[in-house]
């Protein structure tokens, strides 16, 4: 395609600290691919990034329908960012259904790029539009760029031997090329990637490359765009980085833990959204000695993990809320027999089947108490996708050292969101191995280590240490079945004390900001990003606010009480109805204020801000918590049924 030497129009290049783009289209429009390519390029350029993919609500939906909309939001910046952005600055909508489901999130003044070719009467009807939004004035508060992407793309690959369907598959590269021009990105990484991935189909590879360049060229030559944007690289600490989602990091963390502990990983699980990907990942690590087992149900999954732990391996299981509920009896067996075990809960909205693809952090109290009798179990909760790696190892360190099951709380937002992760080298990681007990002379099944109160791990196959364990209460030291009243009381105290002593073995709670002040915003899990950003902005405006994020929920770090008392008020935002607040209040007698919204979505920075400002001003925050959001769409996938 040639261009005459047209008079160069005035293009303003605006410098921005941060941009949030949302790509949305039909599953046939390749939005996941577009989003991930854009992310790669932004990362390679050096921006800090945060992403949130949003898969269609239905497994398969008719083309052009609302449940079939697939989206991808990426936020990239020249500064350190912690969330994929509250609202997009730009929405790229490839068809009417994508526009319909996402337009509510685009703020007034936001830019909208639409593929006009997809706005046929049929597609408008499928999306439930009575009139064409492009012409009926409903989009007037946005800057709309109408681009005939399908047509222009088809033109760019003319002459190549491809079917109409294959041509259509390349249009997402056109859209990508246009976005690259708009945001001053280089096409090189993507062109290299195309050449590599499409080796087997060079014609398609060529078409994709042409489409990409055509999109870029379109941006350059069309009269439509008067402004380009530039987002400078962020200052990340030196090292090798890769993009990683929470579930990927979780899986990698567990394989690594297996190496660090010198024991094979045996993973029993049952498919459930949003934890199934952990099984899919771990199943590909067989050459690391990882044995995965798809059990017949959730209980068999944890049963097999406990059996493996009994045999001296790392027994691991993962699920989401409903599955963890099923596992509670078996988890309690592990508590009683004091074997190392890690149980992962990738939390999702409940109760019951709830909203399987939506995030929530409402299983904390179940993790603390969801078993019969007093049954203390340590709980860890990573705060970012990258931390999912570190806390997988930490969960095993605790499980092995203290001979106890450990619950690892993740959530759907962490699991699917991505961020750059500085890859550690294995030598820098801790040795978490523990020894099996082998000495017959000193062996008693329930003798305890004086420091940790852990009992010895005597594994079947070890000569001379034959003994029996089980769910019935055991006598101290001998491990014989015991109904002695004082023994039971003593054993309950010891089990509780064993978990409590972990507080001396974990880092203190870290506070970002002043050590004391007017307000502490304290969260746990994936609320990290939104809280961090909100608090930073408030501090920039001069407020006396600090942020702390708990990674250990049981026991709490030993300085937690002191931290709480150093601030006049404590705000605890949670995507649940007030679970951490309940634990803090009962433990520390501090009148914390809960900010609780359960909309199946992660917190927005603006929500935390409003809540913090209200608390600082002494206003009630229930109104903010319970007020519906301004956006019309319920999320950027279609409202409606999700997957189980």
């Amino acid at each position: 395609m040639t261009t005459e030497a047209a008079p160069r129009r005035e293009i303003e290049v605006r410098e921005l600290d941060r941009v949030t783009i949302r790509f949305a289209g039909d599953s046939g429009d390749g939005m996941q691919l577009t989003g991930s390519q854009f992310t790669r390029t932004a990362a390679v350029f050096g921006n800090d990034i945060s992403t949130l993919p949003d898969f269609p609500a239905e497994i398969r939906a008719p083309a052009g329908s609302l449940p079939g909309v697939s989206g991808f939001q990426i936020s990239f910046a020249s500064e350190d960012i912690h969330t994929p952005g509250d609202q997009p600055d730009v929405l790229v909508a490839m068809n009417p259904a994508a526009l319909r489901t996402n337009i509510g999130d685009l703020p007034p003044g936001g830019a909208l790029i639409v593929n006009t070719d997809a706005f046929s009467a049929n597609n408008l009807r499928k999306a439930g539009y009575e009139s064409n939004p492009l012409s009926d004035g409903s989009l007037k508060q946005h800057t709309v760029f109408e681009v005939p992407i399908t047509t222009l793309n088809a033109r760019s690959v003319e002459g190549l031997d491809m079917s109409a369907k294959q041509v259509d598959l390349t249009k997402n590269f056109f859209a990508l090329g246009l976005m690259f021009w708009l945001y001053g990105r280089t096409m090189e990484p993507t062109l290299r990637w195309i050449a590599d991935r499409f080796k087997a189909k060079p014609v398609i590879g060529e078409a994709n490359a042409r489409a990409l360049k055509a999109g870029y060229a379109f941006g350059e030559t069309t009269e439509m765009f008067h402004t380009k944007y530039h987002v400078a690289p962020a200052r990340l600490s030196p090292g090798t980085y890769r993009n990683i989602t929470g579930n990927e990091a979780t899986a990698l963390g567990f394989v690594t833990a297996s190496r660090l502990a010198g024991r094979d990983l045996v993973y029993g699980s049952y498919p459930i959204t949003p934890a199934s990907d952990i099984l899919h990942s771990l199943a590909t690590y067989k050459n690391f000695g990882v044995r995965t087992f798809q059990a017949e149900d959730e209980i068999a999954a944890i049963g097999s993990a406990i059996g493996a732990a009994y045999g001296g391996a790392l027994g691991l299981t993962a699920s989401s809320g409903p599955g963890i509920a099923l596992k509670s009896e078996a988890l309690n067996l592990a508590v009683m027999v004091e074997l190392p075990l890690v149980v992962v809960d990738v939390q999702r909205a409940g109760p019951s089947t709830g909203m399987p693809t939506k995030t929530e952090q409402a299983d904390l109290l179940m993790a603390m108490f969801g078993r019969n009798s007093d049954s203390p179990v340590p709980i860890v909760a990573p705060a970012t996708p990258a931390e999912c790696f570190d806390y997988a190892i930490e969960a095993w360190r605790l499980a092995l050292r203290y001979m106890t099951p450990v619950i690892y709380l993740s959530d759907a937002f962490l699991a699917t969101g991505a961020e750059p992760w500085r890859v550690p080298s294995p030598e820098d990681l801790p040795d978490i191995s523990v020894e099996n007990h082998t000495d017959r002379a000193t062996f008693q099944p329930y003798a305890r280590d004086p420091e940790t109160l852990a009992r010895p791990w005597a594994v079947p196959g070890t000569a001379g240490l034959e003994h029996r364990i089980g769910g019935l209460e055991k006598a101290h030291l001998t491990g014989n079945v015991s109904y002695d009243p004082d023994n039971h009381h003593r054993m309950q105290l010891m089990r509780a004390e064993k978990v409590a002593r972990i507080a001396d073995d974990i880092p203190p709670l870290e506070v970002h900001g002043p050590a004391e002040g007017d307000l502490l915003v304290l969260g746990w899990g994936s609320s990290y990003g939104a809280i961090r950003s909100a608090v930073e902005r408030l501090r920039d405006e001069g407020h006396s606010v600090a942020h702390a994020q708990l990674r250990y929920l049981n026991p709490f770090p030993s300085n937690t009480g002191d931290v709480l008392k150093a601030f006049k008020r404590v705000l605890v935002p949670e995507v649940n109805m007030g679970q951490l607040s309940m634990l803090l209040r009962s433990r520390y007698l501090v009148d914390v204020v809960g900010f609780n919204r359960v909309r199946g979505k992660p917190f927005r920075i603006s929500e935390i801000r409003s809540a913090a400002e209200a608390v600082l001003a002494g206003r009630p925050i229930e109104d903010i918590a319970n007020q519906p959001s301004e956006d019309e769409s319920d999320s950027f996938s279609a409202s409606g049924q999700g997957l189980a």
């Binding site: 996941q32 691919l33 598959l169 398609i204």
Partner: protein, 166 residues
């Protein structure tokens, strides 16, 4: 399934191609095998020519119903009560259920087919064809929240098919 973009073999049902990330969600659904099929599957019944729809209450007599149908030269009418479709009375009902002269005075509510199969205006042509073929009938009322908005007949469908293939 084979990725339509890069040719890599993926596990059946995968959402994204493991090699190039192309979304497979659009590609592994059953597809119409011809443009003819595609039109039938995609076009809504509202695209058919609207026939004037007759409607009566259930207390109207069969004689009146038959007279109206003869007058307007249509093969069916819809029976509505309180704004909802409760039955359909067609030429087949007249043929099969009218035995002696007494029957013509009965209320049409007694001879009609109750609880008929109905569709909405934006259901596809293919669905209407399917229902008629399976059910063995030739008239389907179209409704909007229970209220009749039209009627689709086998004749309408034939005409439409002709317009598509011609």
């Amino acid at each position: 399934m084979i990725c339509p973009a890069c040719g890599t073999e993926n596990i059946q049902g995968d959402d994204l191609c493991v090699n190039c990330g192309t979304e497979l969600m659009g590609a592994d659904k059953p597809q119409p095998s011809s443009s003819f099929e595609e039109r039938l599957v995609n076009e809504p019944l509202s695209a058919l020519v609207e026939v004037e729809m007759l409607s009566l209450g259930p207390e109207a007599s069969v004689a009146e119903a038959v007279r109206l149908m003869q007058e307007r030269n249509v093969g069916s009418l819809v029976v509505e009560q309180d704004g909802r479709v409760i039955g359909i009375f067609t030429e087949v009902d007249a043929l099969m259920k009218l035995t002696d002269s007494g029957s013509a005075d009965q209320p049409v509510g007694q001879l009609m087919t109750t609880d008929p199969v109905v569709l909405r205006a934006n259901d596809s042509v293919a669905v209407a064809i399917h229902k008629m073929a399976i059910g063995g009938f030739r008239h389907i009322p179209l409704v909007d929240e229970g209220r009749a908005t039209g009627i689709v007949t086998a004749r309408d469908l034939f005409r439409h098919i002709l317009s598509v293939i011609a």
